[in-house]
Symmetry: none
Subunit: 531 residues, 2 copies
Amino acid sequence: MGSSTRKANHLHKVDIYDTTLRDGSQQEGISLTVDDKLRVARQLDSLGVQFIEGGWPGANPKDAAFFARARSELRLHTAKLVAFGSTRRANGQVTSDPNLHALITSGVSDVCIVAKAWDYHVIHALRTSLEEALAMVRESVAFLVEHGCNVFLDAEHFFDGFKDNPTFALSVLEVAASSGASTLVLCDTNGGTLPTEIPSILAKVKDQVAVDLGVHFHNDSGCAVANSLIAVDLGASQVQGCLNGYGERTGNANLIPIIAALSLKQGITTIPTENIELLTSTARHIAEITNLPVPPQTPYVGASAFTHKAGLHVSAIARRSDAYEHIDPSLVGNHTRFVVSEMAGRQTLIIKAAELGLELTDDATTSLLQRLKDLEHQGYHFEVADGSLELLMRQALGWQQSYFAVESYRVATDDYRGSGLLTEATVKIRIGQDRVIATAEGNGPVHALDQALRKALQPTYPMLASMGLDDFKVRVLDTSRGTDAVVRVLIDFSDIDAQWTTTGVSTNIIEASFSALTEGFVLALLRTNPT
Amino acid sequence: MGSSTRKANHLHKVDIYDTTLRDGSQQEGISLTVDDKLRVARQLDSLGVQFIEGGWPGANPKDAAFFARARSELRLHTAKLVAFGSTRRANGQVTSDPNLHALITSGVSDVCIVAKAWDYHVIHALRTSLEEALAMVRESVAFLVEHGCNVFLDAEHFFDGFKDNPTFALSVLEVAASSGASTLVLCDTNGGTLPTEIPSILAKVKDQVAVDLGVHFHNDSGCAVANSLIAVDLGASQVQGCLNGYGERTGNANLIPIIAALSLKQGITTIPTENIELLTSTARHIAEITNLPVPPQTPYVGASAFTHKAGLHVSAIARRSDAYEHIDPSLVGNHTRFVVSEMAGRQTLIIKAAELGLELTDDATTSLLQRLKDLEHQGYHFEVADGSLELLMRQALGWQQSYFAVESYRVATDDYRGSGLLTEATVKIRIGQDRVIATAEGNGPVHALDQALRKALQPTYPMLASMGLDDFKVRVLDTSRGTDAVVRVLIDFSDIDAQWTTTGVSTNIIEASFSALTEGFVLALLRTNPT
């Protein structure tokens, strides 16, 4: 691996602490049921993280229910479940503090409590004195340790607090350490810390306290992953974050690139080595549960993370991928993809065709390249429309579809106020010697055309019943021309064991859609009735 | 600002070099027309970046067309346009090299050429000797300098190359510098470099070469922003990257968090200070052109970047936001949002109404908030549809439009193979006591409806002749339902002195479009015939 380094580091192992179920679920748009939380926990355990922060049983009834069910239903193999809470209330007693009580009765022995490390927040949010704030830390940690807990201390706003009042911020750490906390976690709660600020702050922390350090970064500066890696390099032995970088605002540190960099590039053990290749599937599985798709550009695990567009590189990548990819994508369970565009060279097309089981001749490649260039100039875009590309490749080899021929179609939408909207489509097609006319209604013009085509074709081709339309996208290309603009339509289709995407381009959205629709039908028929 | 630092740095200014139009457009899913590229360049110039890499005129006909049009059409105020290319061919002559010729004739005097700095790529991709590779750099840089160019050298694969063969990688830099290159750009082409690796490499580079250094990071390790900031801290004076972090695979370094961190947190000048607040609108404007929405979690400029979910913080944030937000969001043109708070919503609406000259009563605000909530649940989105929002505000105050009433409409598209496609729309409307029926043809259903509405209304309202439709956008919302999905349409209108945007949402694209169209007509009439 050309770009990997095996630098000497005094650490051999870093604990990965996932807080998707607590901090991650603060993300706008995420709402996990208790069942969802159990599912996420099982995924994290299978991946092999050391700690799973399950929630805040003292503050949130759903989290209390999660811990109750986890006790009987969740059999973790690798990970330890952690209950999150806060120090006792200001001027209260640890023995009667409901929040500490919830931790002790949560059924887990690893607990993480948050303490304010920024004097401003003590004075203005807690509205108490700095002395009382330190007493809250001292007594709460000691109480939990007495009750047999392994205590992690989240020093909230540590970095900002250190910049304002380093003495107080460090006192919070010292008090927690002397009271028995096993790990002190430096939190960048507002996410504003820059990578260049970390070395001097960590040096001062290490001068003052001798227990294990963890870090917890938010991504507001876009540096959460790098900040975590820098902190590990400086001796932090626990990294808190979330799978897929979930979290409030801009998210928490994404654990995936942290695990991958430490394990694959720095020789530091994180999750079990044999599980690194589960990163991609775990990211996508958890994304299914949160119902937030993994963005294609996501490092290591995104669909585009190892996708190559530029034509000139393709043959070279095939020869020695480590000169063009920072890691072997299979190490994280991802794979190299080549997409075809106007910049594509001959080699890209030949490799892509081979993926589809087609062998492109030299002549066919030349004519296909020209055809692609012309079509892309019109606004076509084949990078994602693999189905339409397949048809072009087959056509370049002299193939023509003979399943059906469209003679004409029409689609009309009528709105009579009061009696509602009606869209109706009629297609006239030939199937061999037969002429078929079918009319169907739909929720809109494309739906009506889809229904009419099915009605016309299904008697001859019953296998079309198992084909579904999964997605329909419209892009207006030349947006400066208003409703007279060119539109590009993409339609995703699937049947039981395949997926394909087609595209159509026209100034008329109906024409663009109908073209993509009919291509999708042809591809479905190709899969079951090869010609 | 609690979290900001004003650390001493020997640099006072860093040049921002945007390569959205070249490297950024390598991103899967991005396909920019020449018009799009001109629009992006104008946005970048308004933002005030120092350099805009416009494309590779020697390799791509579209980029050549861009430079040709840029010469006559693009009047840049701040930015310099840069043409990208490569060194001469192996064993070729600079005087007859088509690629270098394209740079000289591109019409710009700032050029950036790429040279391989990893010996592996010289030997296996260029298939030439290391000596010839250095000669290519030497002669190409000198040739361009002789022709009056300011030459930037992109040292491709510099970091990986340095790790494999530091002598060769440094020789590339030395040769470029001694031949007259003004800036040597260290590229992390595969994106695998970790932040902890940069200090030692940059120290060695600075020992060897004395000219200005730039950096160009890709985000494959999730560290491109941090790596760029670290390199600036170590003396790099040019940062290459893309607005919104566009780029192949996982993208290039996102320039937005880099500009924001340097300018707002480190006291280093990047773009003009008064333009920092344009970051959010520029990010979103360019995202409209690429048609890739800015992900809500994007640092600084995402819709969720300053969104607070936890209820207990809201009043505290209102008191002193800098204790809860790493920067004041207004500094980058973004704003704080409270997901649960109704109070924030009321105030926003009252301010927005005042902008439109409307005074919202308490009752109207309450009913409007409820209406907005219901509509946003259906998929409406009023952040950009200010026109539709204005109509809702007026309705909340008891207003009803009386210009015209739609009785019914119909639109049909017929395709008779051979004789072409025809779309025709009929609208039946009432204007006062009159009933008007008008039929018109168009390039597609929305165009036909627009033409029919004009035909019906213009005899009574001749001022509609000056109203134009500037943009038409379609987004499919519930993409899991195929052609049965909910679509949202946005239409931009303008007349001589105003612009407005309306929106419509329906499972039927015709209905969504017609609703947005009629609202646009009402707003045009409101502007000239207030009721």
